[in-house]
Symmetry: C2
Subunit: 370 residues, 2 copies
């Protein structure tokens, strides 16, 4: 009788980090594409753009003026999603929108506070992360450390979300290399899900191993799998401190995760060597991304770590970065996570192993330089 | 001291259907938009396109030929994500990709089976749902009933997901009006989350009310809220059997839900009058959608109902349809759920009440006809 084959048969894989499933239909990659074709990004930009509100010395929409910065530059988001000060929302306030149902369990609201800032990665308007040198990226990591450090001591902040939207396809409204920080009073949904999973795993295994951690175990397992041969290898690249891999349960076609090899709780804990290693692996991974379809590869990237010092879950996380890139076939055809994915379950068209093999095979020298 | 205001202050709202939160930052709508601008859809199409693989009588990519159909038409998806027959995936098979870690809790896989089909809503290539008459849409609903009925009796099928991707922006590869059916052996993640929430609500309230249902209570609460005045009104339109509203916890800017007013478990249970009412409210809602920005309004739409007859949860759901439309400002500027939304928590830029008021104010006559 026929045997199950991962590259031919539909299956669901379980994501233990978020307690959810992904539907994998590897044969779907064969269907013809007649849908939307994206504009190829016009990849020619000046190193300084007088109209860019992120370039050094320029004016922003709100009138503030950027410093003439020479490496990284942080400023408050002029259109912050959350603010440091605002009133509470109690049942009386909730009546504005829920009337006499304000005390019902179906109408629950929390006032939320926080801070949003923008982090320019470089003064150069024409570069992106993979085109920066590892030592320039180290400076970005050190900037993140300083931001986390400051916010972590603020009792009003519960969680610091560092992220980057790269490319117009990912809602980025300015090609100048930059990321964002949204720091909130509460731990947001997605890290909260991960923290719950990490705590559950720890509780289950703590009797045997007081340091049990889901991501420590996962990194170790993927190290063995990679050594066992091509078909079980999901690692794209690694160094002494970090591993970049396509997670077994990846949703986006070329989704990856950079995971610390040792148990690091938050970005502040990285020592100098680890900062350099993180910068190197970020450079190596994003460079392979650009090389895959010979374009500036769009993605959303974000860093997950433990909540801030004041939070009861301050030490439960294991530092990792997620990269969610939308492209599927080439520089202009993306994967749409729409109907079935929104209503029912995320679905992917190639296996994690196929994606990892393709990324692993790429050069670590940027296509623009070779 | 200042009072909390829903249109000025950031807050999180709780979604009791999926046990999750959404961050609402109403003042963010004021920021300038310098990002991606979508192509306006070329809204001129012939009523028959000889190159369309969905038009009556035409050949499909795989060689099969469509019937010369005159109302709705169902055929098997030529690139189905799941198939009726395939081998199981046991630990031995899992070793292909997980090696000696195949028995670890971090590498969990299920073989999944099912059926995928395509449902053409009309033979007319140039029309979309809001341009069909309610009696033509009734025929679509009756087709859905027949599909659900057939599949519900198949012990290999656990859940039937009916959905539509409308518009290139939502990954639709053919503008001919059509939806899809993906029927799976397992209940997918999203309906599984809703079912868990509905069961939890029922268990909590069953002692007081043996028919307690989260969505029955929600519809009733929103009926009171709507009657109480404009600021608590999230209803867009309603008839005797259904209510179309912007849910209190909506994520997408103009997200809506059509909910049955009485406790209906699955689409098969609709009687003739209810079929007509569902068709009428679908027509009225999608017509307002088109009128909002005077364009063919893109969205993903899907129907949530109870699992199939054989499933232990066969009767626990309450029929409703979700509409997730991406547009935010006009026909070419969409909302991106990217960095923060993917890594941390969905975020919206206007309140559910503001969205509902705008949709409610629109004409029920399609802009192309007026
Ligand atoms: O099946 P279609 O219309 O070719 O494809 C579309 O809908 C599917 C189901 O939501 C998605 O998986 C695809 O990414 C999307 O392009
Ligand atoms: O803050 P920006 O870059 O203007 O906006 C972008 O990122 C935000 C955070 O992920 C999203 O909410 C916006 O939809 C997106 O366009």
């Amino acid at each position: 009788s026929e045997e199950f084959s991962f590259s031919d048969h539909s299956h669901r894989r379980f994501n233990p980090l978020t307690d959810s499933w992904v539907l994998c239909s590897p044969h779907r990659a064969k269907r013809p594409w007649l849908g939307q074709v994206e504009e190829a990004s016009a990849d020619q930009r000046p190193s300084y753009d007088p109209k860019c509100y992120l370039c050094p010395g320029n004016k922003r929409a709100t009138g503030a003026q950027n410093e003439k910065y020479a490496s990284t530059y942080v400023f408050p988001n002029d259109y912050a999603a959350v603010h440091a000060e605002q009133p509470d929302c109690d049942t009386a306030a909730l009546a504005q929108v829920a009337g006499q149902n304000a005390s019902s369990e179906l109408f629950r609201v929390e006032s939320t506070r926080g801070q949003c800032s923008v982090v320019c990665f470089s003064p150069r308007h024409d570069l992106t992360l993979p085109e920066l040198t590892p030592s320039e990226i180290s400076q970005v990591v050190r900037t993140w450390q300083a931001i986390y450090s400051d916010l972590s001591d603020d009792p009003a902040i519960g969680y610091v979300q560092l992220f980057e939207n790269k490319g117009a396809m990912m809602g980025c409204s300015n090609p100048h290399p930059h990321g964002q920080v949204w720091a909130l009073s509460e731990v947001p949904s997605e890290p909260a899900l991960e923290i719950a999973a990490l705590k559950k795993f720890h509780a289950k295994h703590a009797a045997k191993d007081p340091h049990a951690c889901l991501l420590c175990s996962y990194v170790k397992a993927e190290e063995t799998n990679a050594a066992a041969g091509e078909s079980t290898n999901r690692v794209v690249l690694q160094n002494d401190s970090f591993m970049a891999l396509v997670p077994f349960w990846a949703v986006w076609p070329f989704e990856t995760m950079i995971v610390a090899k040792s148990h690091i709780s938050n970005i502040k804990q990285l020592d100098d060597k680890q900062v350099t290693h993180l910068a190197e692996i970020m450079q190596g991974l994003t460079c392979r991304y650009d090389n895959l379809f010979q374009c500036s590869f769009p993605y959303s990237m974000g860093l997950h770590q433990s909540p801030t010092a004041a939070h009861p879950d301050a030490d439960c996380c294991h530092l990792h970065l997620h990269f969610y890139p939308p492209l599927l076939r080439n520089s202009t055809v993306r994967k749409f996570l729409v109907g079935f994915e929104m209503m029912a379950e995320p679905q992917r068209d190639l296996t994690a192993e196929q994606a990892a093999a393709r990324l692993r095979a790429l050069s670590s020298i940027h296509y623009k330089c070779s």
